[in-house]
């Protein structure tokens, strides 16, 4: 944890940028460089910055997310994404697409690969974050 005002200010500015960038990376991942894994890492770098600036306790208080539990939700989503293909097409992990056309915006391409990427995103974000937070806990204890 640092008391530097500048660092905390930068973190506050950077946080939304990082999260939006991570979402963008995840969404473009199927066709271009990116994907759930990279997106999750970028998002967790936001959590890491917050932990460095405010300390693990305050981050937990502010985010109100239990990353350990979130990890298993991610895993469930991944399993679900695999089952979608199995149920519709009879092939486990097969890609199923749903392409609704939105008036004035264009065509959306939603599908089970996106669901899979979202699961991976959540798992990577929560695993990395919970590792870093527990390491920060250890660091705080040593400082005391």
């Amino acid at each position: 944890m640092t008391r530097s005002v500048f660092f905390r200010f930068v973190v506050r500015v950077m946080l939304p940028v990082l999260f939006i960038f991570s979402l963008m990376l995840m969404l473009r991942g199927h066709n271009e460089a990116g994907g759930g894994f990279i997106g999750g890492l970028v998002a967790s770098s936001g959590v890491i910055l917050m932990t460095l600036a405010y300390g693990p306790d305050e981050v937990r208080q502010r985010l109100k997310i239990d990353f350990l539990r979130l990890m298993f939700f991610g895993l469930l989503i991944v399993i679900l994404a695999g089952l979608v293909g199995l149920i519709i097409e009879g092939e486990f992990l097969a890609a199923e697409w749903w392409k609704p056309v939105l008036q004035g915006i264009g065509q959306l391409e939603l599908g089970s690969p996106l669901l899979f990427d979202m699961g991976v995103y959540i798992i990577v974000l929560s695993v990395t974050s919970s590792i870093v937070m527990s390491m920060a806990d250890e660091g705080e204890r040593m400082d005391d």
Partner: protein, 499 residues
């Protein structure tokens, strides 16, 4: 058909996800139901492969050498079925014996991840995915080893994870080199390519690398030191699961990769493997004879039995592999049952030290009988399952004139009998020695839930021993499928023929 092949992966993963449930009892119920279903699915898969041949699923519908294939042939079917049975038995046994404070640390979810890794290793038809399965197994088993955080556990766990990480690294390097040589990692494709254009030089190096990587996992001499250092530290249900299944996954991978993909290259290594097999048997059993702690003694026996399974690779005939598959099924059952017995002795008398135990033949005659059956089976007495496995192995050794290894195998059997008798006299026969302190639980009795898994496993040992013919046929089908993998290759690479 599709869903059957995927379920052995999804069901254990669901146990993993049950970590989300807050109540321990519900978590346990979910885990037991999933383990039971997993067992049923695995048995069904065995029946199906036996009736209709090799079953294949191309995940995501991507056709063979490009996607990841899930393949169940006879060998995989046998291994899946036996691991499903052991998984459920250990699940029940854990419910009866694991202390509540251990369960708090997500015991069953970790168990689920471990089972998923084991099933994945058996079912995958892709070399890199096999590596991933090993990593899943390693992580889950490392946490299970150290759950509880006692000093000895951390010490054992550290040795375990370090040596296994070295093994994984060698495996990864070998897989990378294989891809550079053959341009594919799909096992069926690899087997076809290596059969068409054998490459004696680099191929032998690859086979040796895989031998070392899987040898560490299987606790082969001289790479076994992690096993006796760590296996006696966790709760007994965990030890039983590890002792029954984990090293056998290493042996299975040797069969699948060395025997199926690199048979010609393996010819150069066969004398070396025979020497290693002999040393593994001898060192393991001598280590066991010297031990004075129940679990450590059994841990050394795991190593000794691995020697027999290695011997089959050294001989490399259909007969020897048939014997090895038979022996594998037997040793998984017997080993797990014996670890269960040691756990129950601990439940009754509160110690694993052979000197301090005693008098159990009077206090728990049923347990004594179960132990006797499992121990005789391990030593290779008829009519138990161990007899047939050893008979087949030794006969195939005699047929191709490898008399030295046969003599060693027989001598090791004798020593196994000796060390089993040592347990029998120390734990069951001799009167309970006078303790310095009072026993923790002098009137404790074993619940049916604790005895049932041991009873079922011992029942299977006897059933396989008495009705050996069906098991022999299964083993032979598995052995033929690995040694001449024509139907495996066709089923994976030419879709439509395997259905």
């Amino acid at each position: 058909m599709q869903i059957l092949l995927v379920l052995p992966l999804i069901l254990p993963l669901l146990i993993g996800c049950s970590a989300l449930i807050r109540f321990r009892n519900i978590r346990q119920t979910v885990a037991l139901i999933c383990l039971f279903l997993n067992m049923l699915v695995c048995l069904l898969l065995l029946v199906e492969t036996h009736l209709y041949g090799v079953q294949v699923v191309q995940s995501g519908g991507v056709i063979a050498p490009y996607g990841i294939s899930l393949v169940v042939d006879s060998l995989t079917g046998v291994m899946l079925a036996i691991s499903g049975i052991i998984g459920f038995a250990v699940g029940i046994f854990s419910a009866a014996t694991i202390a509540a404070n251990h369960q708090r640390f997500a015991y069953y979810p970790l168990f689920g991840f471990l089972m998923m890794g084991i099933n994945f290793a058996f079912i995958t038809g892709d070399l890199f995915t096999l590596y991933v399965a090993f990593e899943v197994m390693l992580m889950a088993s490392f946490v299970l080893l150290t759950v509880g955080g006692e000093r000895s556990q951390i010490e054992g766990g550290l040795k375990y994870v370090t040596l296994n990480l070295i093994s994984s690294t060698i495996f990864l390097i070998a897989a990378g080199l294989t891809y550079a040589v053959a341009g594919t990692l799909n096992m069926a494709h690899l087997a076809a390519i290596m059969a068409e254009q054998p490459s004696p030089g680099i191929g032998t190096v690859l086979a040796a690398l895989f031998l070392i990587a899987f040898g560490i996992k299987a606790a082969m001499f001289p790479l076994f030191f992690w096993l006796p250092a760590s296996y006696h530290t966790p709760p007994i249900a965990v030890t039983a699961l590890f002792g029954g299944l984990l090293t056998k996954v290493g042996i299975y991978s040797m069969w699948r990769v060395l025997v199926m993909i690199f048979p010609q290259e393996l010819a150069y290594l066969q004398p070396l493997i025979l020497v290693l097999a002999a040393l593994t048997m001898i060192i393991g059993v001598l280590g066991a004879v010297a031990q004075t702690e129940f679990r450590r003694l059994l841990s050394f026996h795991i190593i000794s039995q691995i020697g027999y399974l290695l011997m089959a690779i050294g001989l490399l005939t259909v007969d020897s592999m048939t014997g090895a598959v038979f022996f594998m099924v037997h040793v998984i059952l017997a080993k797990t049952a014996l670890f269960f017995v040691s756990g129950l002795a601990y439940e009754l008398e509160g110690t694993y030290k052979l000197k301090k135990l005693g008098g159990l033949s009077k206090r728990a005659p049923g347990l004594a009988l179960l132990f006797l059956f499992a121990a005789f089976s391990l030593a290779g007495f008829p009519p138990f399952s161990g007899f047939w496995g050893k008979l087949l192995l030794i006969r195939s050794g005699l047929e191709i004139g490898q008399y030295v290894i046969v003599a060693i195998a027989l001598a090791v059997s004798l020593l196994t009998t000796y060390s089993m008798l040592k347990i029998w006299t120390e734990v069951f026969w001799k009167p309970l020695p006078k303790q310095d302190t009072e026993l923790a639980s002098p009137h404790k009795r074993l619940s049916p839930l604790m005895l049932a898994p041991v009873g079922v496993l011992v029942g299977l040992i006897i059933a396989i021993g008495v009705f050996a013919e069906p098991m022999y046929q299964l083993s032979e089908a598995a052995a033929v499928g690995v040694i001449s993998p024509v139907s495996y290759i066709e089923a994976v690479l030419l879709p439509g023929t395997g259905e």
